[in-house]
């Protein structure tokens, strides 16, 4: 049985922890709103770009098509890009992204493919270290910035242009709501053309391009990679704060439960102590 002083200390330390988790929860809640807005604001651009690409891709095929769209013709060498946050304390947020990536990596290795890994975010780097297949590791930084996305995209293109990779897949967590974030894999190269984008009714007119379709696509596709990375980072950021808020809310509640259990135990032993002392005094008096 712990002494009363020890128990008092214990309660004090749990209370201190509760204060920290409570503060973290409130910070996460405040930041969540901002990052949620940022993620939503970035969606129109990504959507428009996808539909423009879908439009263009329908018209371009065969020999002249850019390799970023049709691929290298091989599927042997894969690059897995895993985007997580830099920090933890967000429940299973980062682990679930990494788990999804690991499943894919494991399957590709079993199929005898060459797999390389590029990580964005410290957590991904740490959790995927043991594969020892990393080609580059970036930090997600504080708020998602286009500059970081561009840097990562440049690295991916460099690898692709050098012929080191054939297929590039990006893993991140899609922010669906405050309680649901789904780890998702998106193929970056060859570009995934969304067929769901509705074809625009041209009323018999023919699209004109300036300079020409190939040139436009060649400019658009690299930018699309940057855009997808950027929106993945924004979604991650929003998801991260949502997960952190939930995790810290749970932690605060657990700390509360623990405090009341400990306080009850403390009071019981204190009363037992008092009773014991009283009995000693009374029996001492009776003996006289």
């Amino acid at each position: 049985m712990a002494s009363l002083k020890e128990m008092r200390n214990r309660i004090g330390s749990v209370k201190a922890t509760q204060k920290i988790t409570k503060a973290l929860q409130m910070v996460a809640a405040a930041k969540l709103r901002r990052s949620q807005d940022a993620a939503q604001n970035a969606r129109p651009y990504a959507e428009r770009m996808a539909s423009v690409i879908a439009n263009l891709a329908a018209g371009v095929s065969g020999e002249g098509a850019p390799r970023l769209l049709v691929g290298t013709g091989s599927e042997q060498r894969h690059l897995i890009v895993v985007a997580t946050s830099d920090r933890g304390l967000a429940g299973g947020f980062n682990s679930s992204i990494v788990r999804a990536a690991r499943e894919r990596i494991g399957r590709l290795i079993n199929e005898g493919k060459d797999v390389r890994i590029l990580t964005v975010g410290r957590k991904a780097r740490d959790q995927l270290k043991r594969y020892d297949r990393s080609v580059a590791a970036f930090e997600a930084g504080g708020n998602p910035s286009l500059a970081v996305a561009e840097e990562v995209a440049a690295k991916i293109r460099e690898l692709f242009d050098a012929g080191d990779v054939d297929v590039v897949t990006l893993f991140f967590s899609k922010f669906q709501s405050v309680v649901i974030q789904t780890p998702t894999g998106v193929q970056l190269i060859p570009a995934e053309v969304k067929t769901a984008a509705k074809p625009i009714d041209l009323k018999g007119a023919v699209y004109e391009y300036e300079p020409d379709e190939e040139t436009i696509l060649e400019e658009l596709l690299p930018r699309n990679i940057t855009t997808q990375l950027f929106s993945a980072m924004l979604e991650n950021q929003a998801g991260f704060y949502a997960a952190q808020m939930t995790a810290m809310d749970n932690a605060t509640r657990n700390a509360g439960d623990m405090i009341s259990a400990l306080t009850l135990q403390y009071n019981r032993s204190r009363q037992a102590q008092i009773t014991k002392e009283l009995i000693e005094i009374i029996s001492g008096a009776e003996a006289l």
Binding site: Y45, R48, V52, E208, E210, I216, E219
Partner: protein, 139 residues
């Protein structure tokens, strides 16, 4: 008065503008072009320059865009800009950064071709800024 059509300007960070306008002048890669209602379907890359948006009330807004794409479809005009800054928000600081970025692009260009492209971009940026600041005085 011209008929109006739907115009959307989006940058990676947000939807900058979405409204019904009379006319938009776009700095296309191969020259400025004006979009009115009923323009034929058309797609073009754009260079750093100034978008001139004439709203239905006849007011002209100038917006600096740093490259991107313009897509004219029967549904309207969509401009995907890498960066879009309204002329009023274009401070000396922002201008200096744009020029510095473009200059860095020239300096870091590896091949002659890349250098030429970067130099062209720098010229366009300077030209656009000159245009905006020139009109800024008589406002």
């Amino acid at each position: 008065m011209a008929e109006a059509f739907k115009f959307e300007l989006v940058s990676p960070a947000r939807l900058v503008l979405s409204e019904v306008v009379d006319q938009v002048v776009v700095p296309g890669a191969e020259g400025y072009f004006t979009v009115l209602k009923g323009h034929a379907p058309f797609m073009s890359t754009i260079r750093p320059g100034v978008l001139q948006v004439t709203s239905q009330s006849g007011k002209v807004a100038k917006i600096f865009v740093a490259g991107g794409f313009a897509d004219v479809s029967p549904a309207g005009l969509t401009v995907l800009a890498e960066q879009a800054i309204a002329a009023e928000e274009l401070s000396a600081e922002v201008i200096a950064k744009q020029v510095a970025d473009a200059e860095a692009g020239v300096a870091s260009a590896k091949s002659d071709e890349a250098k030429r492209v970067a130099q062209e971009k720098l010229d366009h940026v300077k030209e656009a800024i000159a245009e905006i600041s020139a009109t800024g005085d008589d406002r």
